[in-house]
Each structure stands twice: as structure tokens, then as C-alpha cells.
Subunit: 373 residues, 2 copies
Amino acid sequence: MAAEIAHNVHVALGERAYDILIGDRLLDHAGSILAERFPGRRYGIITDNMVAEAQLPRLLASLDAAGLSHSEIILPAGESTKSFAHLETAVEGILAARLERGDLVIALGGGVIGDLAGFAASIARRGMDFIQMPTSLLAQVDSSVGGKTGINSPHGKNLIGAFHQPRLVLADLSTLDTLSPRQFAAGYAEVVKYGLIDDEEFFFWLEEHQAEIFAGGPARGEAIARCCRHKARVVIEDEKELGVRALLNLGHTFGHALEKDTGYSDRLLHGEGVAIGMVLAHGFSARLGLAPSQDTGRISAHLKKAGLPTILADIPGALGSTETLMAAIAQDKKVARGALTFILTRGIGQAFIEKNVDGAAVSAFLDEMRGSA
Amino acid sequence: MAAEIAHNVHVALGERAYDILIGDRLLDHAGSILAERFPGRRYGIITDNMVAEAQLPRLLASLDAAGLSHSEIILPAGESTKSFAHLETAVEGILAARLERGDLVIALGGGVIGDLAGFAASIARRGMDFIQMPTSLLAQVDSSVGGKTGINSPHGKNLIGAFHQPRLVLADLSTLDTLSPRQFAAGYAEVVKYGLIDDEEFFFWLEEHQAEIFAGGPARGEAIARCCRHKARVVIEDEKELGVRALLNLGHTFGHALEKDTGYSDRLLHGEGVAIGMVLAHGFSARLGLAPSQDTGRISAHLKKAGLPTILADIPGALGSTETLMAAIAQDKKVARGALTFILTRGIGQAFIEKNVDGAAVSAFLDEMRGSA
Ligand SMILES: NC(=O)c1ccc[n+]([C@@H]2O[C@H](COP(=O)([O-])OP(=O)(O)OC[C@H]3O[C@@H](n4cnc5c(N)ncnc54)[C@H](O)[C@@H]3O)[C@@H](O)[C@H]2O)c1
Ligand SMILES: NC(=O)c1ccc[n+]([C@@H]2O[C@H](COP(=O)([O-])OP(=O)(O)OC[C@H]3O[C@@H](n4cnc5c(N)ncnc54)[C@H](O)[C@@H]3O)[C@@H](O)[C@H]2O)c1
Ligand SMILES: [Zn+2]
Ligand SMILES: [Zn+2]
């Protein structure tokens, strides 16, 4: 049986170029796809225990059928796996499996596994090739593309890592069937993000196709491919995030601060923080008189329909003080010389980078948003 | 007072190009050199406790005099500092000091600190600039140049790391005055290495100037500059060690196996392992009929005069079995698809890369060398 590749998005990065293959049941064809593209390699699969249970058997069967040699490293599921301790486990696992420089690391899982395994590959033997096999919606539309890899620090999210592009991204749509609805919704926040940044038409399309995307119709693959094309374009333009790539952080400065405050726990998933963060970024831009305030309402309604939190009060449990949140914002890595850098917007599809945001205004805005529960 | 830069070696790596400044008491001028070359930066100094005692005050005084802001991270001295645990300390220290992407990490110390701090800089905030201030002879002639950074694994030396070029190398000759004679001799093994690889004339020059180099005359700076020029040339040609750069590993495959076997301890310093390894590489090449055996004797005599060990029996304590050594050799990262890669030689100044070395022949040779105490 031939692989059903519905979409192939090429990331044209010169000698680091690669394809993003999107389609149904691609994991079942992984063995033959890899055997053809990377003859003679051995594979080290890094995954987490939940994905191992739900999806690993299919991948192993397919590698075995193609006669490919492999070993597995299974880490605990969850954001706290993006730590030094688990990075060490992953790297030492790669070395223990005697994988050589020409062999391949496979990241099978969500963004946590993709970020961690990609980083592990980048430092094992001073750089090994790796393949992303994203299994969460968030990973398929965002984290598996673009080569940002890394782990978290007590000082903030993703503060430690490397730029390391994968050699191939294999997004199997059918893996999303075993993803929890809450995780699917969280990933959907990143889908919406692409529309909000600079593609108003995509946002309107999402408003029309939201139900089909959640139900798993063809619009799902279509939405994922559009997100990958968008991200690929940005990454090609600005691989190392020196400029325009920062737009992809729309909603993330607020989001990261909230994630930190809730201890990177089940209280708030990354995409949920981004959902609230995007509403905050639009609300703050409206407050500054930059954007129409009805856009904030429209975005908020769309995210709510997807089952996402949209205001601070949606977060269960007590939040830290505004000062604590501001400190987290200041430590976020997108800080240059003390001035706060934010992604602000002039409305849906009109985000921009503002390097000189007044901390006091942000703080006052947050104070108010906490009150308005 | 103007800095006394005796030699300036340029490493022409395009947008990653940098200078190696060599001279007396350069640390006392570091503040003004940095203020001129990197205006407006802040500095995070990583060093070890021995270098902190011997050299850090001079650097701090000079930074203070130039009004440069700095913070310090002091790690324990010794090879075992090249570990995940200390890497974490270094990276978290950089983040705790709130150094930003545009700031600079300074590696003040020997090869251990240079490798570790350079690696920490490469992964903190996904890549910060750093400066090498090598204080051991080994670091001044070898490890501070070329951008190989990293830590050790239980599976072998330097198996985890990154290619990350420094922005500047500042080699202060006067720092060598506080280096122990044993460490100086160990570094000298790497000096000799450059002659053995492809510069017979340099080896002969070393035979003539050995006493002056050890005594600290002008030949010392001259020798260091020649080594840096040699290494710079190789690095420019093959930055990522895909080819000719591997020649710099002359003596290192044996050396690394011996270091591993002695637990990276005081029993055998890196340069001492390299000294024995170079003699073994020449001896093995002679055994294969590739090189004249009198060269082995000549090299061995020169290294012995420098106070270096040259045979296995010079290593205090019992060595592991030949099988253990062979396993370490096979796990060394310069292994491709099971075939052993060695740097062999046709004589002094005539080293070459051989990718198809017969493991059984190496094993038999080692067995014999163990007997010939
Ligand atoms: N590198 C980047 O450019 C980038 C971009 C965005 C986000 N991220 C990172 O991505 C991470 C979030 O990714 P995520 O939301 O995928 O989190 P995740 O990897 O933790 O996955 C979410 C949960 O779903 C489970 N899961 C994943 N796929 C599954 C499947 N098919 N079936 C059953 N369970 C499955 C996982 O085990 C986990 O428990 C964050 O750490 C974030 O920083 C990185
Ligand atoms: N990156 C590369 O290309 C490369 C090349 C060769 C070696 N290396 C690495 O370099 C390391 C060995 O370097 P090293 O021999 O410099 O070891 P080192 O850094 O451990 O220094 C040796 C000892 O001397 C002390 N010391 C250093 N400078 C001093 C000074 N001026 N005064 C007093 N004490 C001083 C240190 O505290 C240490 O105890 C190994 O880990 C090896 O793998 C790396
Ligand atoms: Zn995100
Ligand atoms: Zn060496």
C-alpha cells in the first residue's frame, strides 16, 4: 500500500531544507518512507509514555516491516519533562544505543517530545539528524516545524536550547484520534494564531470550518497544511528569530508568564495560555487605541466555542500577584536591554512587533483584567 | 598603558570570524580591549576555583577599571566538571545573572572551562556570544580555538556538545606562570602534535627550543602562535570536522581510551594521554610498515624530555584489560559504521586519516605494548 500523503509542504532552507508530509495513517508507512529517503540508517525513537501507549506500536510495526533497526527511549509525559534531567536521559539513551553521527533520532509525540528530542539530537555527538513525527495538533501546526528546540529553566520557558532543523516532518492525522479533546483545543489556539498574525481570510475560514476541523473532516488536514505553509514561510525568512519570526509569539509573552505562574501544570496548558494571551494582546492593543475592540470580542468568542479559556478568571486556582507576572514577563527571553518587547496588533490579521512597550501600562492593564472576573 | 599584543592570529570564518590575541599580561588589558570591541555588553565569567584564585582578580580589576558590568560563576576544577550537572549550573547561572542574548560569556580557564562555558553559551537563550580566555598551555594552543565545545558522557569523552565559535580569544602568556609544571608539560604534548601532523620543520624547531619554551622565553609565545595558526587553518578548511580536521585527533583515540580507563582522574591528564597516544599511533604505524620505527623513538625521547609519559607502563596503577580499552576505542565518537577510524602516519609530519583499521591488529598491538613495560 502506498502512503497517503495529502499535503507536502517544503521548507526551503538551502542545505537544511526538508519536507513536511501530512496525511492519514502515515505512521503505518513510516518504515518505507524512511527506508527510501534515508537508506542505511539506524533509528532512536524518543517518545513519552502516553504516546508510547497510543501510537508507538504502529511506528514500530512499520519500521520492523521495512527491516529498520531501532531503539526506544520512553520519557514521562508532561511539560516538566523539558528539563535538564530528562535531557540527560535522552542524550545518554542515544549514546547507549550506540547511534552514530549519520543515524537518526525520531521525536514521536507532542511539542514537549519534539522540543526535547530535537535538542538532544542537536547536542548528542555535537549534532545528529532527527525527524519530527508530531502527534498533537499543536506539534503538527507549530512546534515540529522550524527547528526551535529546547528545554525550560526555572528562570523561564524554553530558555535553553538550540536551533536545529529536522530532516523530515511526518504528520499523521490519524494520531490526533487518540489525543484528548482538551489537548486538541489547546493546539487549536495556535491554529487561530496564524490567522490573527497576518491572515484575516484564514481566520474567517476557521470561523466557518471550526466544527469540521474538530470533527475530523478534510478541513482538518487543510487547516494543518495551511498553518505549516505559513510557519515555513516565516522560518525561511527568519530562521534564527532575529526579526519577523517573533510574530509567531503573538499571545506568548502573556501566555508564558501565566504558564510559569501555574507551574507549567495541568492548570493551564501551553495552548490555553496562548489563547488567553492572544485575547490579552488584542485587548491591550485596543486599550492603547491601536486595534478595534470588537475584534477582541470576536476572537474571544471563537476561542470560547473551541472550549478554550479566554480570561484570567478561567484559570482554576489563585494566580500570583501582578508583580510576579510582570517579573515573569521581564525574564521572558524576548527582552532586549530592559525594554519590553510585545507582539501588538492593529486588528485581526495585523499583528506587529513593538519593542518599546511601557511596563507600567502592561501592569495596569493586567491589574484591571484580574479584577474583571 | 597599551596592551602588548605580540601575535594576532585571524580565524577567517566568514560571519563567524574572530581574532586570537596572544601576548603578555593581556588580562590586565581585557577591560579596554572588550570595551572597544564589544561596546555596551555585560559579562558573565565562568571559571574554576583554581583559576579563580590565581587569575580572576586581575580580570575583574581590569573589567572594573573599564566600567564593565560582570558576574562570576565558579565551578570546581577538574575534568569531572565537564558533566551535565555542572553544565546546568553554568547555564542557570547565566540566566540568573539576567544576561541577555547580546551579552557575553567569558570562559576563563583551561580546556575544561573553555569546553563547558562555550557549550553553556551555545545553549543559553539558544545561543549567546562568548570569549575564550585560555589560561593553560593546552587551552592556548588547542581547545580555545575552533569552536568545539562540550561535556563528557559515561559513554565517552566529549560525546555531548555543540560547534560554537568564540567571538574572540585572549591568550595571556603570563597566566601560564601559575600553571603547574605537570599541566604545562601536558599542554606541550598538543604543541608537539602540530609538528607530528604535517609540519616536520616545526617539530625540529621544537627540539631546538624546548628548553626556552619551558623557561618562558620568547619562543613560548612564538610556539603558541604557530600552533594557533596551524589550528586556525585546519578549522577554516573543515569547521565541522567532516574531513581533514580529524587529523588533530592524532594520538587521541588511544589517549581517550586511556583517559576513560583511568577515570578521567589525576592518574592521567588529557595531554599525557595524548603523549602516550601519539607514541602508540607512531608505533602502530611502524608495526604496519607505514612509518620508520626510528621516528617513534625520536618522538618518544622528545616527549620524555618534557617530563611526559610515553608508554602504558608510565601510567600509575593497573590498567583495564585490552578488551576494555578496545571497547572504549570503539565507542569513541570518531567511529563510522563499525569500522575503526585512526590517525596513522608515514613518519614525523606525515599523519593521515585511515578509516579502515583492523580492530584485531590494534588489539594485538595493545596487548604487546602492555607486556613491554
Ligand atoms: N519549538 C517550537 O517552535 C514550539 C512551538 C510551540 C510550542 N512549543 C512547545 O510545545 C510544547 C507543547 O506541546 P504539546 O501541546 O504538544 O504538549 P505535549 O507534548 O505535552 O502533549 C500534550 C499531551 O498529549 C499527549 N499526547 C500527544 N500526542 C498524543 C496522541 N496522539 N495520543 C494521545 N496522547 C497524546 C502527550 O503525552 C501529553 O500528555 C510546549 O513545551 C511548548 O513550549 C514549541
Ligand atoms: N575543544 C577542543 O577543541 C579541545 C581540544 C583539546 C582539548 N580539549 C579539552 O580540554 C580539556 C583539557 O584542558 P586543560 O588541560 O586545560 O585542563 P583543565 O581546564 O582541567 O586545566 C588543568 C588544571 O590547571 C588549572 N589551571 C588552568 N589554568 C591555570 C592557571 N593559569 N593557573 C593555575 N592553574 C590553572 C585548572 O584549574 C585545572 O586544575 C579536556 O577536557 C579536553 O577534552 C578540548
Ligand atoms: Zn506556542
Ligand atoms: Zn587534545
